[in-house]
């Protein structure tokens, strides 16, 4: 069940989206996006298209650039599928084939293939969560680009950004962060938003740190599991070569290490899924929430500037009507953003708490399951070994 791995989402009959299939080719991954909908906007009730990562990014960016959506938390874009590390490992394994026994090679190959598969499943899940978040959002689900994304069964031809565009982005971000400095210095009259700003700034940094540390922890766990693999192989070799009656002993312990290693690898994978991925996701979501606050602050600044301009115009009695219209527009925009932002941030908290609860409970349950499994293996093995001696 890949659906909603990190986030508890309510999907309804009106619009259901999932990724029903995926294909990993040399450089790219092809996702089959499957839609079921009773909405009149679509030609059919059920249909599928094939999309690549760049097309998801295009959709995400179109939301970000749309002024009408300034008051919403834009669901964070899924990260680029990255099989480089895994591919490199598989290649290294192929090169080192001559230096290890056939059993070792087969074992390691199986392991690396499992790793590749896990990364693949993860990237599918992350792309799916993005689509589900959009589909669950009362406003975004109606977006035209979204419908095109879901339905248009040709290539959307959204090539990756060229150099000029990338530079433009870079400058946009620079201005944004400079603005961010100015804007965040302004204390908000609204207690709710003031609290949210303080909270989000700190939370974002801490979730970033926790995510990095969790990553390192799960990687060490995996390294230790890999060592169990090699120990098992060595014990097996000892068991088959020894001339004394200890060979049965070695073979049994070798078997134990092989089995316990599988469990340890699962522990690492589950920690990665339930903890590291959860934290990474909320790193991206909290950034999206920060972006919303930024947009609101910008519109506040625009509103305040429009007020000043209106006062000036009235004082000079020049272009007053124009200034009044402009001020009214800014006021409306600011109030609209504030209203939806408040609801978005409340929803963000609800989603966050639900997601953490689900994942922490599942983490604890899985850790218990694996520890009990390990314990059983060890106790069984000891019973056999002690009975023998």
């Amino acid at each position: 069940m890949l659906k909603a791995i990190n986030v508890d989402l309510q999907s309804d009959a009106a619009l259901q989206v999932d990724i029903s299939d995926a294909l990993s080719e040399r450089d790219k991954v092809k996702f089959t996006v499957h839609t079921k909908s009773s909405l009149p906007n679509f030609k059919q009730n059920e249909f599928s298209v094939v999309r690549q990562h760049e097309e998801f990014i295009w959709l995400h960016d179109s939301f970000v650039e749309n002024e009408d959506y300034a008051g919403y938390i834009i669901p964070p874009a899924p990260p680029r599928p990255d099989f480089d590390a895994s591919r490199e490992k598989l290649q290294k394994l192929g090169e080192g084939e001559g230096s290890m026994t056939k059993e070792e090679f087969t074992k390691m190959k199986q392991e690396l293939e499992a790793e590749y598969l896990a990364i693949f499943k993860k990237t599918v899940a992350m792309h799916e969560v993005f689509l589900c978040r959009v589909a669950a959002h009362p406003i975004l689900r109606k977006d035209l680009n979204f419908h095109v994304f879901l339905e248009y069964n040709q290539d959307l031809s959204v090539r990756g950004k060229n150099k000029k565009e990338k530079l433009e982005d870079f400058f946009k971000n620079m201005v944004k962060s400079a603005d961010g400095v100015i804007v965040s210095g302004v204390k908000d009259v609204d207690d709710f938003f003031e609290h949210e700003r303080t909270f989000l700034l700190e939370y974002h940094n801490r979730v970033k740190d926790a995510s990095a540390k969790s990553d390192r922890m799960t990687r060490s766990h995996k390294s230790a599991a890999d060592d169990y693999n090699r120990i098992g192989s060595s014990l097996y070799a000892l068991g088959t070569q020894d001339s004394t009656d200890i060979c049965k002993f070695f073979l049994k312990v070798s078997e134990l290490f092989d089995k316990t290693r599988k469990i340890e690898a699962r522990v690492s994978a589950d920690e990665d899924l339930k903890l590291s991925d959860l934290l990474k996701y909320y790193l991206r979501e909290s950034q999206a929430a920060k972006d919303l606050l930024y947009r609101r602050s910008r519109s506040l600044v625009d509103y305040e500037n429009a007020n000043k301009a209106l006062d000036k115009a009235r004082a000079k009695n020049k272009d007053v009507l124009q200034a009044e219209t402009s001020q009214q527009l800014c006021c409306q925009k600011f109030e609209k953003i504030s209203e939806s932002a408040k609801q978005e941030l409340i929803d963000f908290k609800t989603r966050r708490v639900a997601a953490f609860r689900k994942n922490l409970v599942e983490l604890a349950e899985l850790e218990l399951k694996h520890a009990k499994g390990n314990l059983q293996l060890l106790q069984n093995c000891l019973a056999v070994l002690n009975g023998d001696t």
């Binding site: 090699r230 004394t244 908290k349 953490f356 609860r357 922490l360 983490l363 070994l385």
Partner: protein
Amino acid sequence: MSAPVIFDRSREEIEEEANGDVFDIEIGVSDPEKVGDGMNAYMAYRVTTKTSLSMFSKSEFSVKRRFSDFLGLHSKLASKYLHVGYIVPPAPEKSIVGMTKVKVGKEDSSSTEFVEKRRAALERYLQRTVKHPTLLQDPDLRQFLESSELPRAVNTQALSGAGILRMVNKAADAVNKMTIKMNESDAWFEEKQQQFENLDQQLRKLHASVEALVCHRKELSANTAAFAKSAAMLGNSEDHTALSRALSQLAEVEEKIDQLHQEQAFADFYMFSELLSDYIRLIAAVKGVFDHRMKCWQKWEDAQITLLKKRETEAKMMVANKPDKIQQAKNEIREWEAKVQQGERDFEQISKTIRKEVGRFEKQRVKDFKTVIIKYLESLVQTQQQLIKYWEAFLPEAKAIA
């Protein structure tokens, strides 16, 4: 030099007990204490013996010994027993780096670890040595265990366990380079040598993997501790009360798990890793003993060749009719006949001793591995039981997030 063959009653007694696996002597090495200052400082260890064997004057006694004393003991035992086929357990390795840190007074965790590692190694070394029925009889060993004062062992550089092994390896190389192939009449020896060669290779491989495990486990411990702190910080900034509490509890669980990892790494090393490194060095001693047998054979062979030459000389002298030279030749023949006989006796003796030693060694090896590995698995059991406790306590906290 020949092996001290003292077949007194207590020796037979002990050998019988050895076969029945009852050995009433226990050695402990404890209380490392730094003596002196600066580069002349050294660590003194307490060596405690508990025994009911009649050859000792008391049933429980202890002395203070320093590392070079252990090396001195080993060098004495090695020089007496190795070349006649006894597998003398090697002493722990010297370590200039490790010891310097201790001398210089670095009171950090790495020097404490080093001292503990050495203490444990010295204890295992003595335990193995006293388990050997012949070595237990040795007066030097008894003096080591009992005497309050011991003459300082000098030149321990050359006499360190590593030094002896280097000598043994050099001898092995020399033997391998011999062009005269030994006519191995006894397939048992060839078979055993091959087996020990294989065992050596496998143990080294296993040891490398276990060392990697120790390293990764320590890394995991450090990373878990770092994550625990980070999770605590995250819990602090989380503004939903119940979730904040759960995250703090997660941090506490991870901190406890970090402790577990540290303890497990300790067990990984002291039980599993050190067992393997001890046996890698023991097998080097076994190989050395086999090589001594080859040298012994060579000596016998050389004596036979020389005897032949002497007989040829005698024949030549008889033909040349030189009476005084004939007498000399006859004397030399008698001398070399005796040497040939001695050579044969020595070779048979060393072969016999080695067979017995290898039998004893293999029995001990099986016992050691079984005991230690079972103990190690029990440490793994403990870790899992603790993990279960911690996660079972956390689960309701996670469920309480509302």
